[in-house]
Symmetry: C2
Subunit: 375 residues, 2 copies
Amino acid sequence: MKFTLEAQDGRARAGTLETPHGRVKTPFFMVVGTAASVKGMTVAQLRGARCQVVLANTYHLAVRPGDEAVKARGGLARFMGWDGPTLTDSGGYQVFSLAKKRTITPDGVRFNNHIDGRELLLTPERAVSIQDNIGADIMMCLDECPPAKAGKDAIAASLARTHAWEERCLRAWRGGGGGGGGDGRALFGIAQGALFEDLRAESAAFLSGLDFPGYAIGGVAVGEETADIRRIVEFTAPLLPAEKPRYLMGVGTPADIIASVRAGVDMFDCVMPTRHARHFQAFTRDGAINLKNARYAEDDGPIEDGCDCEACRTVTRAYVRHLALLNELMASVWITLHNVRFYLRLMESLREAILAGTLATVAPTLYPAQDGAKG
Amino acid sequence: MKFTLEAQDGRARAGTLETPHGRVKTPFFMVVGTAASVKGMTVAQLRGARCQVVLANTYHLAVRPGDEAVKARGGLARFMGWDGPTLTDSGGYQVFSLAKKRTITPDGVRFNNHIDGRELLLTPERAVSIQDNIGADIMMCLDECPPAKAGKDAIAASLARTHAWEERCLRAWRGGGGGGGGDGRALFGIAQGALFEDLRAESAAFLSGLDFPGYAIGGVAVGEETADIRRIVEFTAPLLPAEKPRYLMGVGTPADIIASVRAGVDMFDCVMPTRHARHFQAFTRDGAINLKNARYAEDDGPIEDGCDCEACRTVTRAYVRHLALLNELMASVWITLHNVRFYLRLMESLREAILAGTLATVAPTLYPAQDGAKG
């Protein structure tokens, strides 16, 4: 997987990532399709919104329909009818989000899956082979994602375990089906260390020595304050190899993304645009608004002035508010179409500004620096 | 509203209906968008499926957002971002479907609405003025839709009331905002009479004398057997004025539609394509199939071979089955995209066959004569 840097503006970077399913312009945002489906959007709508990469979840796909089944159907991209680039996370996030359904051992994580309780043992080797079967262009190392509030000793112990797992993942990947990237696919390492800068530095240094095709910052947005997220991202991003793509996992608000691009991050994913839509929250460059609010009952404007999405080209705030009030299925679909395009437009604007060297002046116009619903 | 007959094949007819929002080729199927929204499809997807007319519900829109609100937003077509032809039913069907929430008086129907219990009094005059506000191209008379199992005396009494209401609707429409069709919009009469041929004949004769721009057959598909539906439609359709469009309300399965087109019906609506999709039922020319069925787990074919819909061009049965098993939102969306296009393709095929004079040989190839899930 080839990564080419095209421009820098401060620490922010613009580049191109070449995947087996096509070129991706960085920085980019991956739309989340946990079970190989983006909630509320067809593939044509994803293309219409100029989505570049779809992210799916290893744990969820391993449970249903099973990684062998995805492989038998031609792999993730073909299975979901999206013939574009994809990324799978490793299941490490479910160590955090499904904490009550799993046991951690030095060898890996044992889940009692959330659907039928059957056991799923995720070792580093198994995490790689599952992802190899699923067939995403970018795979992620198995890591442990501890809650932000854990103490330093617990975080340090978790980090040591994660590093051992990542070494095993890399070994498995190099010896595995893809032969360590000979097929153009990549395995990314994930730096952990919670809110402790010394642990983050240790993690970045350790992983940099392993020569992964790309690097992620994990363990962020798991319960900590915005200021802590920003501090850790700004601290960690520059410690990751400059010639490799940098991916901030699971973050975040448009303001978080703008700050993180400025810190040198190239890749993002987050459920916010799709999940917020299901709660009628729409993103605009003035902040998030809730379209169920009575103030929009007679608002004949689009969800966001100047937006080129399918929703803004078609329907009004008053109409979406009417649907939201009735809990009509299409309320969340229309807002999803807007929110996803909002995030993708944001990334396009950031990239253009980096290429033009105008990021410092452009960035503040794209979204309020402090999030918070505008109502 | 001008209706031009272009061809007949047996009793089946092909024609053109000119509405203020464009020409419609008959016979046609109206996709149901009860609350001014088709569940699971955007306007672009409706256009992509070559939908000609969307149907919305007077009662539901009168409750939320209110007919004055729809008018203030530019009327139904503009409100929902669909700038094409629309039809509103009169609320008469809710006399049947919301039987526990309404009281019938000679003057009209009093509803305690299903959302907040507030009273909605639907008189013939009010049904017309509400629909005039909503602004659909085709409005329907207020009628009473009695259950199929009611006795003949009750049906006869209901029919007399319905006829009185329809006369009042016609008078109100002629004296109202649209000036009785001077704006190109139409009011349709609705023939009732349940399963009694003499009452159906009486209703058709009475309404024919009133010179409506179009005529509907109502009170069908409210609990009776398929054979009775077919018998009543075949009996009633030829009794309605030949130079006016004929609309069979709320029917039905593809087999019902084929039989009814052959009986001389021009217009249809039904929730089946959208509602069945939410239960993972897909229509194919071999019958309906349930895509949650394990038999599709490894089926890499499209929902229906040869279908040109967005779903069949993109995803497989195995994939939709995976989503159905997880109750993922997009399972029903993909099947909706297919089912709606299936119905619209069916109508296109029927029209082509009528124009070519080949309906008798083509019709049996379009769907099994007897419905029933294929599994």
